[in-house]
C-alpha cells in the first residue's frame, strides 16, 4: 500500500480515513461524493469494518454518531443537499461531543444546483449550518495529497477533541487524480480517544474542567453513561433550569477548541511575508492564486497568499498580522464572496478589500487573478 500512488480526491479521502482507523461508514449516494461510499463498501468489510447504506442523510450521520458511542471510528460523506439534511444530527454530535468525520464534497449552487461541478458555497454552511451556537473544526484540502492527510487529521482532531470534524472537498478535487505519497503506517500519527480508567461510579463523561477533554467510554465497556442532545452537566444529564450550568456546558464547546488553537489551526503562507497585496483563498482554487502570484512577483508586485487549511476556527491571529502589513486584501473564492465577509473583519478603512469571486462551476484561472492583482497594485 505504501509508496506513490495515483488517486482521485475521493479515493484519497477514503484511504486516509482507513489509515486513520475508520471502521464504520454510513452514507447515502450523492454526486459527487459517491465514490467514497463505493470504495468504503469494498474495503471496510475486508478489514472487518462496517459499511452501511442508510435510507437518507439524516440516518447516515445518526448511525455514524451511534456507532461512535459504541466505540467505532466513524465517517460519512455527502454533498450540499445531503449536508443540509445532516445539520440536524450534526448538532447532536456537537453538543454530545461525539467524535466523527463528515466529508462534504462541495458542488455548485443551492438546492440541486449543478451536481457535477465544483464550488465553495458551503464555507459558511459548514460554520453556521446547524442551529444554536457552537464552534466547529473544518478542514479544506487543496490537493489530492492533502485530501489524504487532512482526512487523517480530521479523525485525529475529532478523537482528540471529541467533536465532529468536517472536511470540505469539491467536485473537481473529488474526481481528479494526483500523485499521493502513502506513508508507511509507522510514519503516521494516529490519535484515539482517551478512555476512562476510573471506577464506573466516578465516571464523569462530560467533565469540562479547564476545558480539558473528558475521556469517552464506549457503550458496553462497563460504564453506564448517558448521552443526550440536551444541554447537560458533567454527568451528561440535562440541566435546563440553571443559567450558570447552561453557560458552562456551552462555554466548554467553545473553550475546548479555543484553548487548543495551536494544535488545531493549520495554514499555508506563500510569498506572504512582505505582501502588500494579501490573497486569502482556500481549497483547490488557491493553487491558481499561486500561479498568479508567481507571475505578478516576476513583475515586481509584492503579492502573497494566506491559505487556511483549517478554515474554522479561522486562523485569525496570523491572518490579521499579515493583513496589518497589506495595502489590499484580496479573496479568491468560488462563491459570492464568503471569505470576503471573513476578511472584512480584519481590514481597516485605509485598506482595500477586493473579492475575486466566480460562481460558474469552473475553477478560477490564474489569468483572472493576475488581472485583478494588476488592477489593484
Amino acid at each position: 500500500m505504501q509508496g506513490d500512488r495515483i488517486l482521485t480526491g475521493n479515493e484519497a479521502c477514503t484511504l486516509g480515513a482507513l489509515a486513520a482507523g475508520m471502521n464504520f461508514f454510513a452514507g447515502y449516494p450523492i454526486t459527487p461524493a459517491t465514490e467514497i461510499a463505493e470504495l468504503s463498501s469494498e474495503l471496510l468489510p475486508k478489514r472487518g469494518g462496517t459499511y452501511m447504506q442508510m435510507e437518507d442523510e439524516l440516518a447516515s450521520i445518526a448511525a455514524v454518531i451511534g456507532a461512535s458511542t459504541a466505540g467505532a471510528k466513524a465517517m460519512t460523506a455527502t454533498s450540499g443537499p445531503g449536508f443540509s439534511l445532516m445539520q440536524e444530527n450534526l448538532s447532536y454530535g456537537m453538543i454530545a461531543e461525539i467524535p466523527c468525520v463528515l466529508i462534504d464534497v462541495m458542488r455548485q449552487g443551492p438546492c440541486q444546483g449543478v451536481a457535477t461541478v465544483p464550488a465553495q458555497g458551503d464555507f459558511m454552511q459548514s460554520r453556521w449550518g446547524t442551529h444554536g451556537d457552537h464552534p466547529v473544526i473544518v478542514l479544506v484540502p487543496n490537493s489530492v495529497s492533502e485530501a489524504y492527510t487532512e482526512t487523517i487529521r480530521a479523525f485525529n482532531l475529532s478523537e482528540a477533541y471529541r467533536t465532529p470534524v468536517i472536511v470540505l472537498s469539491d467536485a473537481t478535487l473529488a474526481h481528479m487524480s494526483e500523485k499521493v505519497r502513502i506513508p508507511d503506517v509507522s510514519e503516521l500519527t494516529i490519535v484515539n480517544r482517551k478512555k476512562p480508567t476510573c471506577d464506573p461510579k466516578d465516571y464523569l463523561p462530560f467533565s469540562n474542567e479547564n476545558h480539558q477533554i473528558a475521556p469517552m467510554a464506549s457503550f458496553g465497556d462497563g460504564y453506564r453513561w448517558f448521552v443526550s442532545g440536551i444541554v447537560h452537566d458533567d454527568t451528561g444529564f440535562p440541566v435546563t433550569n440553571r443559567p450558570e450550568a447552561i453557560r458552562d456546558s456551552l462555554d466548554h464547546l467553545l473553550g475546548k477548541l479555543r484553548d487548543h488553537l495551536a494544535d488545531i489551526e493549520s495554514y499555508e503562507e506563500y510569498r506572504a511575508e512582505d505582501a502588500e497585496i494579501l490573497i486569502l483563498s482556500a481549497g483547490l482554487v488557491s493553487r491558481s492564486a499561486k500561479s498568479a502570484i508567481d507571475r505578478a512577483r516576476a513583475r515586481g508586485v509584492r503579492v502573497g497568499l494566506f491559505r487556511p487549511v483549517t478554515l474554522w476556527p479561522f486562523p485569525e491571529a496570523r491572518f490579521s498580522a499579515l493583513c496589518a502589513r497589506a495595502k489590499t486584501v484580496m479573496t479568491v473564492e468560488m462563491n459570492g464572496g464568503q471569505l470576503a465577509e471573513v476578511a472584512a473583519k480584519y481590514v481597516d478603512r485605509d485598506q482595500t478589500l477586493r473579492p475575486v469571486t466566480q460562481n460558474d462551476g469552473t475553477i478560477i484561472r490564474a489569468e483572472t487573478i493576475f488581472d485583478a492583482i494588476l488592477e489593484v497594485c
Binding site: F24, A26, E42, P45, K46, G48, T50, M52, M54, E55, D56, L58, A59, A62, A63, V64, I65, G66, A67, S68, T69, A70, G71, A72, A74, E88, N89, Y92, S218, F219, G220, D221, G222, Y223, R224, W225, F226, V227, S228, G229, I230, F237, P238
Partner: protein, 273 residues
C-alpha cells in the same frame, strides 16, 4: 433486604419522573425494566436509545447506557450502535409521533433490514410533549389541539405498518395489561431480529381530557371494552372488531436472517476475495 428489580435498573437520583399523573409511560417503563431483567441481559451491555417526546424521557431514568437522540431518529442511531457492537442489547423507546411520523422512514427501513433492535412504540394517540396535537395514530374524529373539529386523517396501525415493512417480531400490548406488555417486550428482546411492540398507553391530561374520556382509572378501564386478544379476534367477524384494538403477537418469524449476522457473512465473503 433483597434488592428490587427497580433498584438495579433505575437511577433513583433522577426520579421523580416528569410525567403527568395517570400517564401510561411509567407502566411501559416498568414493563421494559422487568423484561430486561428477565431476559438476563447484563445491564452493562444494554443500550437504551430514545428520541424526543414524553416517553423518550424514560431513558433518563434507566441505569443502563442511554442515548437520548433527536426527534424521530432513535432507530437510525440505534442501528449505528448495534452495527458497531452487535453484542449489545439495544432497546429503542419511541413515541407514536417520533416513530411513525418524523421517524417513519427510519422505522420502515429498520423493519426492512431486520436488524436486532427492540423498538417499543409508546402509543398514546397524540403528541403529548408539545401539548396534544394529532399524530399519525390518532383515531379518526378524535379531538386534539390541531383537530378541534375531529381528526380527519386516517391513522396508521403501527403493527400492520411494521409487519408490512418486514419486521420479524410484531406485537401489541397495553398498559392496562402490564404483565402481557412485559411478556411481549421480553419476547421482542429475545427475538433475534427487528422487534416492534406497539405499547398502547394513555395520555390522560391531554388526549383523555380533550376527548372527555374521564380520569386516569376511567381511561384505563375503557380498554376492557376496547381491547380484544388476538386469539379471540380471529374468531370474530370484522364488524365486531370495529373500534376495537387487537392485542397479542402478530408476527414472530425466523424466516429472514438478522442484519448483523448477514453483515458478518459479508465480512467473511470480502475477506475471502
Amino acid at each position: 433486604m433483597k434488592e428490587h428489580v427497580f433498584d438495579r435498573y433505575l437511577r433513583p437520583e433522577k426520579l421523580k419522573t416528569m410525567w403527568c399523573p395517570g400517564c401510561g409511560n411509567g407502566i411501559v417503563l416498568q414493563a421494559i425494566i422487568r423484561a430486561l431483567d428477565e431476559s438476563g441481559a447484563d445491564p452493562d451491555k444494554v443500550v437504551v436509545v430514545s428520541g424526543v417526546g414524553c416517553s423518550s424521557r424514560a431513558v433518563n431514568y434507566l441505569n443502563t447506557c442511554g442515548l437520548h437522540t433527536n426527534h424521530g431518529r432513535p432507530i437510525a442511531y440505534a442501528t449505528g450502535v448495534k452495527m458497531a457492537n452487535p453484542a449489545l442489547t439495544v432497546v429503542v423507546i419511541t413515541g407514536d409521533g417520533d416513530c411513525t411520523s418524523i421517524g417513519g422512514n427510519h422505522f420502515i427501513h429498520g423493519c426492512r433490514r431486520n436488524i436486532d433492535l427492540t423498538v417499543v412504540v409508546v402509543n398514546n394517540d397524540n403528541y403529548g410533549m408539545t401539548g396534544g396535537q394529532y399524530s399519525p395514530t390518532t383515531p379518526l374524529d378524535a379531538m386534539t389541539k390541531t383537530s378541534v373539529y375531529g381528526s380527519y386523517e386516517p391513522p396508521f396501525d403501527v403493527c400492520e405498518l411494521a409487519a408490512g415493512a418486514g419486521a420479524t417480531y410484531v406485537a401489541r400490548g397495553l398498559t392496562y395489561y402490564p404483565v402481557q406488555l412485559k411478556n411481549v417486550i421480553l419476547n421482542g428482546i429475545r427475538h433475534k431480529g427487528f422487534s416492534v411492540i406497539d405499547a398502547m398507553s394513555d395520555c390522560t391530561s391531554l388526549y383523555g381530557r380533550l376527548n372527555r374520556l374521564g380520569d386516569a382509572p376511567t381511561m384505563m378501564k375503557r380498554w376492557e371494552e376496547k381491547a380484544v386478544p388476538l386469539a379471540k379476534a380471529r374468531t370474530l367477524p370484522p364488524e365486531a372488531l370495529a373500534g376495537k384494538i387487537v392485542y397479542g403477537e402478530f408476527v414472530r418469524s425466523d424466516a429472514r436472517r438478522e442484519y448483523t449476522e448477514k453483515y458478518a457473512e459479508v465480512i467473511r465473503r470480502a475477506q475471502e476475495v
